[in-house]
Amino acid sequence: MLSANLNTYLVISLFMLILGLYGMLQHRSFIGMLISIELMLSGAGLNFMAFNRFLAPDPAIGQIFTLFIMGIAAAEAAIAVSIIFAVYRRYYTADPADVHDLRH
C-alpha cells in the first residue's frame, strides 16, 4: 500500500520542490518565478501533513501549520503581484534580467 507509506508522500513533496526549483531557475518572467514559488510552498505543506499523519503525537499541529503556510503563501502572492506591477511601471519590462540598476 503506497498510499499509507510516509516515504511516498516525502518523495512526492520532494518532486514538487524540485519542480519549483527548476522553474525558478528556468523561467524568464516574474510571474513564472512566482508560480514556481507557489509550487515549492505547496510541497512544504504536503510534507508537514505527511509527518502529521504518520509520526506526530498530536494530529492538530500539522494541520494548523499547513493552514498557516497557506495564509503566508496568499500574503506572499499578493505582495509579489503588486511588486511586479510596480516594477513593470518603473522599468517597462517583464524580464528579471533587465532589472539591474544596482549592478552598475
Binding site: F15, M49, P59, Q63, M70, G71, A75
Partner: protein, 174 residues
C-alpha cells in the same frame, strides 16, 4: 487487499499523476496562462493527497485558498500587468534549462538519499484526532496567539499590496 483498497490506491495514483503533470506543465510551458493552469491542476492534486492523509477540511481549504484565490490573483497579475505580446516568455536559450535541470537533479539525489537512509520513529502515544472540532479547539486555545498574528500578517499584506500597486500612478496619469 480488498476491492475498496484497490480503488483507493488507484484514486491516490490519479492524484499523484495530477500533481506531477500539473507541476511539469507549470514549469515547462512558455505561455504564462498555461503555467497558471498547470499550477491549479497541481494544487488540486495536492488537495486530493490531503484527503488521503485524513484531513478533508484542509483539502477544501487548499482548493479555496490556493486554487480559488492565489491562482486567480496570478491570472489577474498576468492580464493587468503585461501587454499581450509579452504573455509568452522570450529569451530562453539552450543553456538555461540545462543548468536548471542539473541543479534540480543534484538537489533531488541529495534529498532522496537523506529520505531513504532515515529511520522514522512514530510517536509513542497519540492524543486527539483528525476531527474538525478538535482542530478548531486547538487553534483557538493553544495556538490563539499564532492565529491572531497570521491575521495581522494578512492585513499588513493587503495594505502593503494596495500601497505598492498604487504608487506612482497619480503623477504619471493624472
Amino acid at each position: 487487499m480488498s476491492f475498496y483498497q484497490n480503488v483507493n490506491e488507484i484514486i491516490f495514483f490519479v492524484f499523484v499523476f495530477l500533481v506531477l503533470f500539473g507541476g511539469i506543465m507549470a514549469v515547462r510551458s512558455r505561455i504564462l496562462m498555461h503555467a497558471v493552469l498547470g499550477l491549479a491542476v497541481s494544487l488540486l492534486g495536492v488537495a486530493g493527497l490531503y484527503f488521503h492523509l485524513g484531513s478533508p477540511f484542509l483539502a477544501l481549504m487548499q482548493i479555496l485558498i490556493y486554487v480559488g484565490a492565489v491562482c486567480i490573483m496570478i491570472v489577474f497579475g498576468i492580464m493587468v500587468g503585461y501587454t499581450p505580446s509579452e504573455v509568452r516568455e522570450q529569451g530562453i536559450g539552450v543553456a538555461n534549462p540545462f543548468l536548471a535541470l542539473t541543479a534540480g537533479v543534484a538537489v533531488f539525489i541529495t534529498l532522496l538519499i537523506a529520505i531513504s537512509r532515515t529511520v522514522w520513529t512514530p510517536a509513542a502515544a497519540v492524543q486527539g484526532d483528525f476531527s474538525l472540532a478538535y482542530l478548531g479547539e486547538t487553534l483557538m486555545y493553544r495556538y490563539c496567539l499564532a492565529f491572531e498574528l497570521i491575521s495581522v500578517v494578512l492585513l499588513t499584506a493587503i495594505v502593503g499590496a494596495i500601497i505598492l500597486a498604487r504608487g506612482g500612478r497619480d503623477e504619471e496619469h493624472f
